[in-house]
C-alpha cells in the first residue's frame, strides 16, 4: 500500500471570473480558506516599489462591515489563525478555522474584496507605513547579512526587470504613496477575476459553493486587467561586490539565473539542490562543513519564480580560521562537479526519499494543501499538480540533474556578494 496522500478536489468558476477550488477532507474539524491574488512585487512600476506589500497591510485595516484590525479579532475570536504574505508573483491571504466557522471566513474575505475602500483613510495609510518600515528594520536592516536578499536580486536581475526589487521595496517609494494610489491599486488588482479561492478541510462541497456564490458572486470583475509585461532578454551576468558589515564571520552569497518554477528543469534543479545542500548528507555540507571544516554553515536553494526565469542561490559562511576566498573556491569546485559528472544512484535515491517525506509532511496540513491548490491553479491552471508534483520529482534522473546544473552553473555567469567584518576590511584597506 502506498503512503502517498491523494488530495480530492473540485473546481468551479463564478460568472465574475473567480476561480474556486474545494477539497473536502474529514481528518480534523478544521477548514483552511486560502485566497491568492495575481499581484505581487513584479507588477509594481519603478518609483512605486513595496506597494503590493504595503497594500497587504491595508487588507487588515477594515472594510464596510469590519472595523480596523477587527478582521484579526474576528478570526482569532472564532478560534482561528490567519496570515498573509506578499511575494514577487502574488499576494496570498489565508485563515484556518474550526470548520463550523467556514461561512464566517468566506464572508470576511468577500467583505474586503468587495468593500475595502469604504474603510480606507489617510490615518490608516500613515500608521501602516510606519508598521512596514519597522518590519523592514526588523527583518532586514537590523540583521547580520540582512541586506543580501535585496542586493542579490538587484544584481541577478537587471534594472527594469520585474524581479530586480524585492517585495519589501523602497521606503522612499512608500513615503511617496498617496491614498489615490492605494485606491487605484485595489480597483485594478483586488477583483474576483484576478483571484483563486481554495477551501480545504472538513466541509461538504455543495454548501460551500453555495456560500461562495452568495458572498463573492455579486462582486464585479475588472474587465481591464493590465497584462503583465514579460521581461525582455537579460544581459550577461557578472557582478562582484564586497560588503563590509557588523558581522563576525565572512560569508559568500552567490546567485545564478535559472529556469522558471513549473518547468521540468526546475524540478531537476530542486533535486540537484537537495543533493548539494539539503541536509547533513549533502555534498556541500559533507565537504565544507564536515571534512574540510572551512565553513560554519552552507545553504543552496532555488526560488519558485514563474516570470520567464528564476534565481538559484546559496551561501557559505566561513569559519574564523578560514576565509571567503577559500570557501568560494570549494563551492565553485562542487558546483562545477555537478555540471560534469553524474550524481550517483544512491545520492539520487536519498534526495528523492527526503523530498518524498517532505511532501508527505506538507500535505498533512490543511493550510498547506489549500495554499498549493491555489498556487498551482494560479500559476499553471493545473491544481492537479498537487497530486502530480511528487511524481515529477521522483521521475528526475541523473542526466536531468547534470543537464540543468550545466545550464545554470556551467557558464560561470553569476552574482557574488561577499560580506566581510568591518574590522577586517579596515585592516586590509
Amino acid at each position: 500500500m502506498s503512503d502517498a496522500s491523494h488530495v480530492r478536489f473540485s473546481q468551479h468558476t463564478l460568472s465574475n471570473g473567480l476561480r474556486v477550488i474545494i477539497a473536502p477532507d474529514r481528518v480534523a474539524p478544521v477548514v483552511a480558506i486560502n485566497l491568492w491574488y495575481d499581484v505581487g512585487s513584479k507588477h509594481e512600476q519603478p518609483g512605486a516599489t513595496g506597494f503590493a506589500h504595503l497594500f497587504e497591510h491595508f487588507m487588515f485595516q477594515g472594510s464596510r462591515h469590519v472595523a480596523k484590525a477587527e478582521h484579526l479579532s474576528i478570526v482569532q475570536g472564532a478560534g482561528g489563525v490567519l496570515n498573509a504574505t506578499t511575494y514577487f508573483d502574488r499576494t496570498n491571504y489565508f485563515e484556518t478555522l474550526p470548520s463550523h466557522q467556514v461561512e464566517l471566513g468566506l464572508w470576511l474575505e468577500a467583505d474586503r474584496m468587495a468593500t475595502l475602500l469604504d474603510a480606507m483613510s489617510q490615518e490608516n495609510l500613515d500608521n501602516q507605513r510606519d508598521v512596514v518600515k519597522n518590519e523592514k528594520r526588523q527583518s532586514y536592516d537590523n540583521r547580520p547579512y540582512g541586506s543580501f536578499y535585496e542586493k542579490l536580486m538587484a544584481a541577478v536581475f537587471p534594472e527594469g526587470h520585474p524581479y530586480h526589487h524585492t517585495p519589501i521595496g523602497s521606503m522612499e517609494d512608500l513615503d511617496a504613496a498617496s491614498l489615490e494610489d492605494v485606491e487605484a491599486f485595489f480597483r485594478t488588482y483586488y477583483v474576483p477575476n484576478n483571484a483563486v479561492l481554495t477551501v480545504a478541510g472538513d466541509v461538504d462541497e455543495a454548501p460551500v459553493i453555495e456560500a461562495v456564490e452568495r458572498y463573492f458572486g455579486p462582486i464585479e470583475p475588472n474587465e481591464q486587467l493590465p497584462p503583465f509585461r514579460r521581461p525582455h532578454d537579460q544581459p550577461a551576468l557578472a557582478h562582484r561586490e564586497v560588503v563590509p558589515d557588523d558581522v563576525p564571520l565572512e560569508r559568500v552569497h552567490v546567485g545564478y539565473r535559472c529556469p522558471a518554477y513549473g518547468t521540468r528543469e526546475f524540478d531537476a534543479l530542486e533535486v540537484a539542490t537537495q543533493i548539494l545542500a539539503g541536509g547533513r548528507g549533502s555534498r556541500l555540507h559533507k565537504r565544507l562543513v564536515r571534512e574540510e571544516q572551512v565553513a560554519q554553515d552552507v545553504a543552496f536553494f532555488a526560488l519558485p519564480l514563474v516570470a520567464g526565469s528564476s534565481i538559484s542561490a546559496g551561501w557559505v559562511t566561513a569559519r574564523p580560521e578560514s576565509d571567503a576566498a577559500t570557501v568560494e573556491a570549494m563551492l565553485d569546485e562542487e558546483l562545477r562537479r555537478m555540471t560534469r559528472e553524474s550524481v550517483t544512484d544512491d545520492e539520487l535515491a536519498r534526495a528523492q526519499a527526503l523530498i518524498e517525506s517532505s511532501e508527505l509532511s506538507a500535505l498533512s496540513r490543511m493550510d498547506e494543501v489549500a495554499d498549493r491548490l491555489s498556487m498551482y491553479a494560479m500559476y499553471f491552471d493545473r491544481p492537479e499538480l498537487v497530486n502530480e508534483q511528487l511524481g515529477r520529482f521522483l521521475a528526475v534522473d541523473a542526466e536531468a540533474v547534470r543537464d540543468v546544473c550545466a545550464s545554470v552553473f556551467g557558464s560561470g555567469e553569476r552574482a557574488t556578494i561577499t560580506y566581510v567584518p568591518r574590522a577586517n576590511e579596515e585592516a586590509s584597506a
Partner: protein
C-alpha cells in the same frame, strides 16, 4: 453594485461545531522499564517517534554541571554524528535512504531524540533510531567540530540584536549562578573545555530506560509498535544513580535591573521586559494562559493594539511565559524604532501595571478564551505535533487527561480569575528592562523615567572606531 452587496450586511452565524477530541493514546512498558505511548492519528502516514529522556525532569540541561554548561545540548546534537556501528556519514546516509529525519535535541528538562519517517520504513528506522539513541560513539573529530561551531555561533549571537537580547535577558532576571541565568547552549568559557569524554559521560548519566518514554504517533493502527520497540530498545539497561538536580535553577535576581546594550547606529531597539515567571505545573495554568493571551498573546492583545496599531512603533509585540519544571522567564518582547524606545517601554510598563487592576472587558475575555479553545485542534494536525503535545505531558508529569481537560478549563476562566492570575504572576514593579540598541537615542529618557539604576554594556567590536 451596492444593492447586490447587501448580502454582506449580515455577518454569518457559526454552524454546529463538530466534536474534537485529542487523539486517544495508550501506554505500555518494556521489561527494562521503558514506557511506550502509542497514539493512532488516522490519515497521517508520515510517523513520528520521540524518545523523551525526562529523568523525572533531571533529563535536560538543568542538571548539568555549571562548568560544562552547554554539554547536554551538545550531547544531543552529537548523538547522530556516528555510532559504534558506523561513522557519521554512514549513519546519516542510512537514515536518508529511509526518507527519515533523525536527530536529538535538549531542553532544560529533558533530552529528546526524534525520528520522522514514512510508515513503510518504520521497522528499519526504529532499529537505526535505537542505534543513535543508545550507541552513539561521540567521535572526537565530530565532537570537536560541533563544539567549535557552537563557539562560532556564540560570536554570531553578538552580531544579531535579537539573539544578543535573548542572551542578556535571563542573565538579568535570574540570580548569578542560577542554571536558568545562562544560555541553554552554554557560553564560551563553559563550551570551550567540552570534549567527547564529557559528552559520553553525560549520555551515560542521562539515558536510563526507567526514566524515559518512547512516543509513537501517526497512522499506526495496523502496526505492531510494541514488538518493534522491544526489538530495538528491549536490551537497553543503565547503571548508576542518574543526574543530580540543582536545588533552585530559577533563583531570581535581587530586584529590578535596567540594562542597555549599546549598538551605535542601530536602526531599531530590541526590547525585553519582565521577570522570573512560573513553572508549568500550577493550579492556575489555564487562567494564566487566558491572561497572557489578552495581554500580549493575540494580535488584538492590549500590547499589540497599543504599540503596533495605535502608535506604529513596532511590527509586533508579544508577551509570554516560558514554563518549565521550575520557573522559566516571563517576557514582553518587541523591536521598536530607536527614537521611540523610551515611550514604548513606558507603554509596556503601563500595560503590565493595569493587567491586575483594571477591569477585564467581556470582549477581550471572550476573544482570548475562544481563540485558545478554537485553535486547540489546529495545533495537532501532524504526527510530530501530536507527539510534541504528549512529550509535554511526560516532561511535566501531567495527568493523562490534561489535554482533554484543556478546553473546558479555558472556557471556565472568568474575569476575576484573570486578574487574580495577573496579580500572582505579573509584577510590574519587579520587571527588569533589557534594551539592545543605539543607547544615545534613549539613555536620557530612560534614566529620567526613574525605573532604577541604568547599567550600560558595550560589547567589544561594536561602534569602536566609528566615533
Amino acid at each position: 453594485m451596492t444593492d447586490s452587496l447587501a448580502v454582506l450586511d449580515q455577518r454569518p452565524q457559526p454552524g454546529q461545531p463538530r466534536e474534537y477530541d485529542f487523539p486517544q493514546f495508550e501506554r505500555s512498558s518494556l521489561d527494562n522499564g521503558l514506557t511506550i505511548i502509542r497514539c493512532h492519528v488516522p490519515g497521517r502516514p508520515l510517523l513520528q517517534a520521540q524518545l523523551i529522556v525526562h529523568g523525572d525532569a533531571g533529563g535536560g540541561a538543568t542538571s548539568e554541571p555549571a562548568e560544562h554548561a552547554g554539554a547536554t545540548v551538545l550531547t544531543a546534537r552529537a548523538m547522530s554524528e556516528g555510532t559504534t556501528e558506523r561513522d557519521a556519514v554512514a549513519f546519516i546516509e542510512a537514515a536518508e535512504r529511509l526518507g527519515a529525519e533523525m536527530g536529538a535535541g535538549a531542553g532544560w528538562d529533558s533530552l529528546s531524540a526524534h525520528v520522522e519517517v514514512p510508515r513503510a520504513h518504520l521497522a528499519e528506522a526504529m532499529a537505526l533510531f535505537a542505534e543513535m539513541a543508545l550507541q552513539p560513539a561521540f567521535p572526537e573529530r565530530e565532537v570537536d567540530r560541533l563544539r567549535d561551531e557552537r563557539l562560532n555561533d556564540l560570536q554570531q549571537v553578538m552580531a544579531d540584536a535579537r539573539r544578543r537580547a535573548e542572551k542578556a535577558y535571563p542573565a538579568v532576571i535570574y540570580a548569578e549562578g542560577a542554571a536558568y541565568a545562562r544560555p541553554l547552549g552554554g557560553v564560551e568559557e563553559t563550551v570551550a573545555p567540552i570534549d567527547r569524554d564529557v559528552l559520553a559521560a553525560r549520555h551515560a548519566a542521562l539515558l536510563r530506560p526507567e526514566a524515559s518514554t518512547l512516543i509513537v504517533c501517526g497512522d499506526i493502527e495496523d502496526l505492531a509498535i510494541d514488538d518493534l520497540v522491544d526489538a530495538a530498545f528491549g536490551g537497553w539497561s543503565a547503571e548508576g544513580d542518574g543526574p543530580a538536580m540543582p536545588s533552585t535553577p530559577d533563583k531570581a535576581a535581587s530586584g529590578r535591573r535596567v540594562v542597555l546594550v549599546d549598538r551605535p547606529g542601530a536602526p531599531q531597539s530590541e526590547v525585553r521586559i519582565g521577570h522570573v515567571g512560573t513553572a508549568r505545573r500550577i493550579d492556575d495554568f489555564h487562567a494564566l494562559s487566558v491572561t497572557n493571551a489578552l495581554l500580549g498573546g493575540l494580535f488584538n492583545s492590549r500590547l499589540n493594539m497599543l504599540l503596533r496599531e495605535e502608535r506604529g512603533y513596532t511590527y509586533g509585540v508579544q508577551s509570554g511565559f516560558d514554563m518549565r519544571r521550575a520557573a522559566g522567564p516571563f517576557a514582553v518582547r518587541c523591536a521598536v524604532e530607536s527614537d521611540v524606545t523610551a515611550p514604548a517601554v513606558a507603554d509596556i510598563m503601563a500595560e503590565l501595571g493595569r493587567i491586575a487592576d483594571d477591569p477585564v472587558e467581556d470582549a477581550e475575555l471572550d476573544a482570548a478564551r475562544d481563540y485558545l479553545i478554537g485553535v486547540f485542534p489546529l495545533r495537532f494536525e501532524t504526527s510530530a505535533q501530536v507527539a510534541g503535545a504528549l512529550s509535554g505531558l511526560v516532561v511535566h508529569g501531567l495527568p493523562d487527561d490534561e489535554l482533554d481537560r484543556y478546553r473546558p478549563a479555558i472556557a471556565a476562566v472568568g474575569a476575576d480569575e484573570v486578574r487574580t492570575a495577573a496579580a500572582a504572576h505579573i509584577d510590574p514593579e519587579g520587571a527588569s528592562i533589557v534594551v539592545v540598541g543605539d543607547v544615545s537615542k534613549f539613555e536620557g529618557p530612560l534614566r529620567e523615567a526613574g525605573y532604577g539604576e541604568v547599567e550600560i554594556v558595550r560589547d567589544d567590536g561594536f561602534g569602536a572606531g566609528d566615533e
